[in-house]
Point group: C2
Amino acid sequence: MKAGIIGLGLIGGSMAVDLRRRGFAEEILGVEAEPVNAAAALKIGLVDEVVDMEECIRRSDVVIVAVPAGQAVNLLPEVLDSFGEGSGSKVVVDVCSTKEQLAAAVASHPLRRRYVSTHPMAGTEYSGPWAAMAGLFDGHACIICDPEESDADAVKMAEAIYDVLNMRVIYMNSSAHDVHAAYVSHISHVTSFALALTVLEKEKDEKHIFDLASGGFSSTVRLAKSSPDMWTPILSQNRDNVLHVMDTYIEKMQAFRKAIESRDEDAVRGLIEDANRIRRIIR
Amino acid sequence: MKAGIIGLGLIGGSMAVDLRRRGFAEEILGVEAEPVNAAAALKIGLVDEVVDMEECIRRSDVVIVAVPAGQAVNLLPEVLDSFGEGSGSKVVVDVCSTKEQLAAAVASHPLRRRYVSTHPMAGTEYSGPWAAMAGLFDGHACIICDPEESDADAVKMAEAIYDVLNMRVIYMNSSAHDVHAAYVSHISHVTSFALALTVLEKEKDEKHIFDLASGGFSSTVRLAKSSPDMWTPILSQNRDNVLHVMDTYIEKMQAFRKAIESRDEDAVRGLIEDANRIRRIIR
């Protein structure tokens, strides 16, 4: 199997590592617009060659689009265009965190059925080929969206990839995906960004933050290190769902604020006990 | 050295573990109001005996008050009362997360100088003697408040304890402590509680939360498992500082909300880049 990966960052790079060492791909071609990242990906050994998109598509059996969601909207139709006629069994898979706009971008493409929409839900707060790591996806969930819009053999290819990556595959339509992703993933990035902004504004003495930050603060603020290149388009493409969850979140903060301000310890305790229900669900 | 620990939860229990195995205390007496917790602490071997408060104080060289902040306000003056006259070299240390109200509660006590106000900034989201663990404090910061209000030998005793626990000691007055703790610790618990409440309200299907929660969500929501017994009095005692930080936090969320709503990608990117400055400070 020859795999082409467009975008050699954390996700594309980590897929390359495990698809190779677990024997899925004997050759991996990379496409990377940023010269420093391209050189690093080659040097680290994530890919065998860095080539241009046309060559990558021509030589690969499966093409993985692992660029930020904002770029993928334009790039995905171009990949399908390049498949051309008689492309036969070639498949393209994307790994973006938002799915509805991408689905719309290729909805009427004549080769739509060679595309499989996927979201492997794993990552770290780091980015770039140097952040790529083995085992990143192991045990996490991967959503395959709108499988009925893709050819059966194309879906099988995507399933084979995520099987090699040890992911639990869940099926959902794009619209449901974006709603759930806003609830469970996107909002926690926004709250983490806001926490970092708050602490940086209130605590002018950075040494105090460093000295006093305990494990609790570090884990809560960790996602605030996440890349603007990745998250700006996600928050933009999933705007309506994210705004809806943010409104609920701000209401909860206001409820806490009111209970604390009015010295209503029963109400504060009640809110914390409600929040504690998450214990049953998360680990 | 004989150490008495009042409150055998996560903090008191973990101190017992390391003070014993690192040779600081050859005997550890515990006081624990909850019978199940007391029996567990004995069975786990955190303490040699569970005794009543009077006996604990009489037989201990140093008494560590490790109960929730709401109880400590009443308990700490009682401990000093029990020291009585001629108590000589006995020392009491508390480990609460809020310090100003405690300082006020003992300000005019005739034995005030035998008390040292401390806050070892370490913990997990779990509680009870079964959550106690070795090495919990290693490498974290411990704040000693108002050291000039305590006898020099009492401060030395506290320093010796935190030296054994491998903590970096920082000195601060109680008021400054409560401001900084609100910025760096208390707010991140409130944001985590609010996140849990939001996700539990929006995502009625708990299986979806379980399936889709990635490492990022889990780490951001982790603190929402924290105990209401501990956190209700902290938020109450540090009310003014916490409200002040919450207001700034809600402003930052509103700024994000506005940027996303108005489709201003430059503003969203700017906010994320600002938040990314936390990278320089946290790990």
